[in-house]
């Protein structure tokens, strides 16, 4: 007589033909797992437990050789960010400069968090250390966190800096050598063509609006970007008016890689580096604001021409601070402190007509023509105009103000949001204020962006009899025509003679 219990046990102990496991052993392992871990609601997750046990047993039986683990992106980044935390020993030398140049990012983070904007505590701390690295490596006069521009693959952290005077000269010489090289290439091409001259076109491209020099207008500050704090900073080139006018017509996301080409219509002169720089210039000009009275115009002695725009300002030492309640109520307590960019793409208007007419200045007739055709100078609002005078767009006000706290208004921070550039925020509390931009780098366009259409194709010259070709008559046709003409003449002479004869008869 066989014990039915022994029979059942023997069945359970039978090892599977495929996996060499037996049900008995597997159940033992699963139950041991439940007992050891005291799994909550084990019956509901029983299948998962069983699956997990099977997976674990499989992994142990793998070969002794293990894969060399590939470094994850997190590990690579951590290695680079570790350098941020290294303390330099020669901090005694330029301590004063470093203290002034570096912004107090912890304070910035606190105020921005009250305003509802921020990047997280540890991230801001890493950004502060990265800015310190930037100031040390480039020896900048002063540096500010401008903001963060999000991109599809990676984002940009942007720092605004004022560079030393020596660097300015280096920049300008670098730019001029680039231009000289371009001219050399042009002349070389011309030499080749002289042997076999091709017909030259009369087309003269419209004159290019010149860039503004470093330290003035849209190029007042120099911008550095990096993808993550800890990675090396890249310097952005100067912005040209052509890039600003092109950037006004296109709408593109940033990808996060500076060398991405911008494929758009109208074609953008440059790649993502230039587009980024142009958007930064537009955002700064449109949204950087400060409490009224914080900055004052530099008083210039001597003659002042009416047309010269005053573009220099300095910190007002007598600024008392405006109460936050007042700042969150009225928009006239905030003023722009960055120059407005004109339609031309620059902050100071340049008359292109005079440049073209340099050769013919001697003749009076041409001067008169110039005076008639002279384009009107573009004038923008002067510096330090209140924000309340900005034009409304799309039926909504261009700015919104808020107070950061309802429950404790006495300690609250006044916040100014821009509605034209969503993501641009300014806060003010007592004597402190700052601007920051956190967004995608795009302007608000109301209902939808309507891209510029390509121009209509040029019309053909209207066809008329004077240009339409006629088939040349062949030799036989010419001869036939001559014979016909001769017959006609002969017939005419014959009729004339007969007329004369008739007259004579009469």
């Amino acid at each position: 007589m066989e014990d039915p219990a022994a029979k059942v046990k023997a069945l359970l102990l039978k090892s599977s033909s495929e996996s060499q496991l037996s049900l008995y052993d597997h159940l033992v392992q699963v139950l041991m797992k439940v007992i050891d871990e005291e799994t909550h609601n084990a019956v509901d997750v029983f299948e998962d437990l069983s699956h997990h046990v099977k997976q674990c047993s499989l992994e142990e039986r793998q070969s002794v050789l293990k894969d060399f683990p590939q470094p994850t992106p997190a590990e690579l980044l951590a290695e680079q960010q570790r350098l941020l935390f290294v303390c330099t020993d020669d901090a005694d030398q330029e301590e004063d400069l470093v203290e002034m140049a570096l912004p107090n990012v912890s304070e910035l983070r606190f105020f921005l968090e009250q305003a509802g904007v921020g990047l997280g505590r540890e991230e801001m701390q890493r950004i502060c250390l990265a800015l310190k690295q930037l100031v040390d490596s480039e020896a900048l006069l002063c540096c500010r966190l401008w903001g963060k521009i999000l991109g599809t693959r990676s984002s940009y952290i942007v720092a605004e800096a004022e560079c030393r005077e020596g660097l300015e000269e280096e920049e300008q010489s670098a730019e001029s050598t680039l231009e000289q090289e371009e001219r050399h290439d042009d002349t070389k091409e011309k030499h080749v063509n002289e042997k076999d001259p091709l017909p030259q076109t009369n087309f003269k491209p419209p004159p290019v609006v010149p860039k503004e020099a470093i330290g003035t207008g849209a190029n007042k500050f120099v911008y550095y970007v990096c993808n993550e704090p800890g990675l090396p900073w890249a310097k952005l080139p100067l912005v040209s008016p052509a890039q600003i006018t092109a950037a006004r017509h296109i709408r593109k996301f940033f990808t996060g890689r500076l060398d991405t080409p911008i494929v758009s219509y109208p074609p953008f002169p440059g790649n993502e580096t230039n587009y980024l720089r142009a958007q930064i210039a537009r955002i700064s000009a449109g949204t950087q604001a400060s409490p009224q009275g914080f900055y004052q115009m530099v008083e210039e002695e001597g003659d002042e021409e009416d047309e010269v725009l005053r573009d220099s300002y300095e910190v007002n030492p007598d600024f008392e601070g405006i109460p936050t309640a007042e700042m969150s109520e009225s928009l006239s307590t905030w003023v722009h402190h960055v120059q407005h960019i004109l339609q031309q793409g620059r902050c100071t208007w340049v008359n292109l007509a005079t440049k073209a007419g340099d050769d013919s200045n001697e003749e009076e007739g041409d001067e008169r023509e110039e005076a008639e055709n002279e384009p009107e100078p573009e004038v923008g609002p002067s510096l330090l105009t209140p924000v309340s005078q900005d034009a409304e767009m799309f039926n909504s006000p261009p700015w919104s103000t808020k107070l950061s706290s309802r429950l404790t208004p006495q300690h609250a921070v006044a916040v100014l949001h821009s509605n034209l550039w969503p993501g641009a925020v300014t806060y003010a509390c007592g004597k402190k204020f700052d601007n920051i931009y956190m967004g995608w780098g795009l302007k608000y366009v109301g209902e939808g962006h309507s891209p510029a259409l390509p121009p209509l194709p040029q019309k053909e010259f209207p066809s008329g009899p004077e240009i339409s070709e006629a088939v040349d008559p062949s030799v036989e046709e010419e001869q036939a025509l001559e014979e016909a003409l001769e017959e006609q003449e002969a017939a005419q002479e014959a009729t004339e003679e007969s007329d004369e004869d008739q007259e004579e008869d009469d």
Binding site: D44, T72, E75, A115, T152, P451
Partner: protein, 276 residues
């Protein structure tokens, strides 16, 4: 994002630039607990913030037994007093999308003017349209519904479909691995699937019906409408939607932490094809 983990998850999505200040966080911690008790939700989430010209709306969402279908949305101005939003029916959606344009104002009783010249139909139609006004509250409900419908994201395996058809959290979800987390295939839309039936039998054979009952993100058209990045020193995988700018999803690989939040202006980015 789940109310229980609000304080640490806000740091993880802060890469988009928007956070809540300390007063709002404290208020949310208190009021969401009370909300859950009053409405008898199984789980309550902080859905996000829609910024208006004058005021911001804070939105919370409660989930019932079935996470996909039992969703109730509520809004508040001060994170303390919550008001329920009306459910978004198809008729309401059609009505609102034609009438409401521009930014949110911040006043739930604001009425959007419907331009009668847009509908050159019969007089009856014009009258019907004029009679039913579109308030900002209705627009808010429709916007929240559309965002959930189109761009809410969950990692694959985080939710299971139980035998009775209920969709619930998967307690044995241990997170996507590092290599899985950077592929868009492993993220699913958290709404009724539209593309599942169009898949071939070969593809369906590879899927696990308990986990893969939702649409995959990589099937979205246009391709490239999601931005996948590693943030916070490469530890957190962040997905941002380019269709509704402001929606951020985060997931920490190899852990159970995941969630999404919308901090934006409540407008759909219809220019997306021009911008990619």
């Amino acid at each position: 994002m789940d109310a229980n983990t609000l304080y640490c998850s806000l740091e993880l999505v802060a890469g988009s630039g928007h956070t809540l200040n300390s007063e709002q966080r404290a208020a949310l911690q208190t009021s969401l607990v009370i909300l859950r008790k009053n409405y008898k939700f199984k789980r309550v989430l902080f859905w996000g913030k829609i910024m208006g010209l004058k005021e911001d709306y804070f939105i919370a969402q409660g989930r019932g037994e079935d996470e996909l279908k039992d969703r109730t949305s509520l809004y508040s101005f001060n994170c303390i007093d919550w008001l329920q939003l009306p459910p978004a029916t198809d008729a309401l959606i059609n009505h609102v999308t034609t009438a409401a344009k521009g930014r949110f104002i911040g006043d739930p009783s604001f009425v959007y003017d419907h331009d009668p010249q847009q509908r050159p139909g019969t007089e009856k139609q014009a009258e019907e349209v004029m009679a039913a006004k579109v308030t900002e509250e209705m627009r808010l409900a429709v916007t929240v519904h559309l965002i959930d419908e189109e761009v809410s994201v969950v990692p694959r395996g985080a939710f299971v479909k139980r035998p009775h058809g209920l969709v619930q959290l998967n307690p044995s979800f241990s997170g996507l691995s590092e290599s899985e987390a950077i592929k868009l295939d492993n993220y699913l839309h958290f709404s009724e699937p539209k593309n599942l039936k169009k898949k071939s039998i070969l593809e369906l054979g590879e899927l696990n019906p308990a986990i893969d009952f939702l649409d995959v993100l990589s099937d979205d058209i246009p391709k490239g409408s999601w931005s996948l990045q590693l943030e916070c020193a490469g530890r957190v995988c962040v997905l941002r939607s380019l269709l509704w700018l402001g929606l951020t999803f985060y997931h920490v690989p190899m852990t159970q932490q995941h969630g999404y939040i919308y901090m934006g202006y409540g407008n759909k980015n219809l220019d997306l094809p021009f911008m990619l």
